[in-house]
């Protein structure tokens, strides 16, 4: 049973405090903006301008045409031209180049027969992205080659712009960081400053206190979602193919899930600093395993099971589905159920532990 009057009093108080806390206020808008720009521009899985060394041992008309063509693709940028493969090792080790393309003396002959690979590529495997890019070059549709390149049809993101995949997921990442962190810190602050000791001698109930403190953050989460969407559409020309209402509905579901995680954390932390550390501890697996950074399908089975527990995994599927594939929220019902279940479990534990932590 919740007394609305007391609930409003707590919400109002929280908003007043927030208004005076300039740092938090700046973070509410600052974090999404900065992260969007960083992730949107910097995370680019399509590698361009790899520094490359060319060892053209054939030095024929055909080999020179091959080098020119591959350079035009902008995947590589020719940094060094060598006569012998011996120098490659030093360049790679020093990091001066990431790949080396070796054209053998019998290039023309191999090309004519078309039955075996006619160039060798040495790639710096210490960076997985470069390794991937090297394979990309290997499939390069060299016009004179008789080997038919595989044509990849890229649905939903034909230009293969990373931003398109990153930005919707970024809404989830930003909400994870701010919602969980702000809530945990806000509740622990109340205890650390001694406010809680006074409040529990008043008729306020633990549940009212939690809900009252969390409600303003729901609003903040929606503001952040709006900031990311606006910047995404404006800067990265992000399409919103599904219904905008459903985008917000799924954001709301996720906000509540992230908030309950924050409340749960707050019942363990004694100081604001501890709360912050614990919140960060939950970020890493979510960001790494949710499919935001690395493809879900490529993860080992155990990691996939773990990822299924994390709310961000479900939100990323939900938001990518709605925004990029114009899926309806009904088609993704399983993900919404998962978010609701997570919220219910986290909240139940939090309220249970919150009572105990007072004694």
């Amino acid at each position: 049973m919740i007394a609305l009057r007391r609930l409003f009093a707590i919400v109002f108080k929280e908003l007043m405090q927030l208004k005076r806390d300039r740092l938090t206020f700046a973070m509410i808008i600052g974090i999404p903006t900065i992260q969007l720009l960083l992730f949107g521009f910097a995370i680019n899985m399509d590698v361009r301008n790899l520094d490359a060394a060319i060892v053209d041992q054939a030095d024929t008309f055909a080999s020179r045409a091959f080098v020119q063509e591959i350079a035009q693709s902008q995947v590589i940028r020719v940094r060094a031209s060598l006569r012998e493969p011996a120098g490659i090792d030093a360049l790679l080790r020093a990091g001066d180049v990431s790949v080396a393309i070796v054209i053998p003396r019998d290039f023309d002959k191999r090309l004519a027969r078309g039955d075996r690979s006619f160039v060798q590529m040495v790639a710096d495997g210490s960076d997985p992205v470069i390794g991937q890019a090297a394979r990309q070059i290997a499939q390069f549709p060299f016009t004179r080659g008789s080997v038919t390149p595989v044509e990849v049809l890229n649905l939903y993101n034909p230009e293969r712009r990373s931003a398109l995949n990153t930005v919707p997921g970024l809404i989830g990442v930003i909400l994870t960081m701010t919602m969980t962190l702000f809530t945990a810190v806000a509740i622990v602050r109340e205890r650390e400053r001694g406010n809680l000791e006074l409040l529990i001698t008043t008729p306020v109930r633990p549940f009212e206190l939690i809900v009252g403190k969390v409600l303003p953050f729901v609003g903040i989460g929606l503001v952040q979602t709006t900031v990311v969407l606006l910047l995404g559409v404006w800067i990265f020309h992000l399409p919103i193919r599904g219904s905008l209402l459903e985008v917000y509905a799924s954001a709301l579901l996720y906000i509540v899930a992230a908030l309950s995680l924050g409340v749960f954390i707050s019942t363990f932390a004694k100081t604001q600093f501890q709360a912050m550390q614990m919140a960060f501890f939950t970020f890493l697996p979510q960001i790494l395993l949710s499919g935001f950074m690395f493809p879900f399908a490529g993860m080992p089975r155990a990691a996939q099971w773990l990822a299924e527990i994390l709310p961000l995994t479900h939100f990323i599927r939900l938001i990518r589905g709605i925004m990029l594939r114009s899926a309806g929220i009904g088609e993704l019902a399983a993900e919404t159920y998962a978010l609701v279940a997570f919220t219910a479990v986290a909240m139940a534990f939090a309220v249970m532990r919150f009572r105990k932590s007072l004694d």
Binding site: A9, R20, R193, E197, L198, I200, T202, P203
Partner: protein, 319 residues
Amino acid sequence: MNAANGIAIRARGLTRRFGNLVAVDHLDLDVPRASVYGFLGPNGSGKSTTIRMLCGLLTPTSGDIEVLGLEIPEQAEALKRRIGYMTQKFSLYEDLSVLENLRFLASVQGMPHREAKARIDHLLVEYDFADRRNQLAGTMSGGQKQRLALAGAVLHKPELLLLDEPTSAVDPESRRRFWDQLFQLADQGTTLLVSTHFMDEAERCHRLAILDHGRLVADGNTRELMRDLPYRVLLVETTKPREAQAIVRTMPGLAGCAQVGNALRVLLRRDAHADIAALLARAGIESHVTEVPANLEDVFVVATTPAAQEPKRAAGAAP
């Protein structure tokens, strides 16, 4: 019903353990209504733990509590509307103004709007915040914060006010004003339970309980505690107080010997008829001994000195 016959708080055998530590040890308490009842004791003597148990914040390990006729902790929810609580640390919101803090508390206490507004206006004047209503609580002095905390605690006109070391961070002038306000509340019928480690504050209370290591070592009417102390208080004026102290410390029946300027304040059992002046003269120390009335510090020293416990208990059992 205890509530009817003028007892606000009644506790029997109240005990609280934290692991192996016995924070409160079989405490019996009777706090009469409309009076100021003091809890005197050093840090760690169990004052805060007792107060927290009395308002239902902490569950006792054993013992019975009845506050305002309610069984605690079973009826703690009902009690919450009838008590005010002021913590050691300032526990209102530093980033809210005076007015916002009071409005928040009024809403949380469920006071009707009109009543809350009138009550807050009244308190702002009475507690001298009329010009500071929009000042942030965090920017005020220790004395002002504590006055605001008191205003917050009495906002809903509680019958019982529990104050846990309310004046530990306050200058003497503010403390005097604060105590005036406490007595005014007692006059209006409020029962006040105040914990403190200041003797001058404890001396102001109508009744007093002295706690030491979780046990109640003395309680009663403050003036009677001082009057009925089974010890003589002797002021020994001498030119060599340090040497004299070494000799006095060897005397039997001694509860305390403290230097006060060039004199020694000696607490000696009434039945120990030793002549301090003669004893010191034999050691070649000149002195002048006068008997003075006991003050509360003397009561406290006797109550918390293990060697002085036996005669005190015997004296306590006599009436």
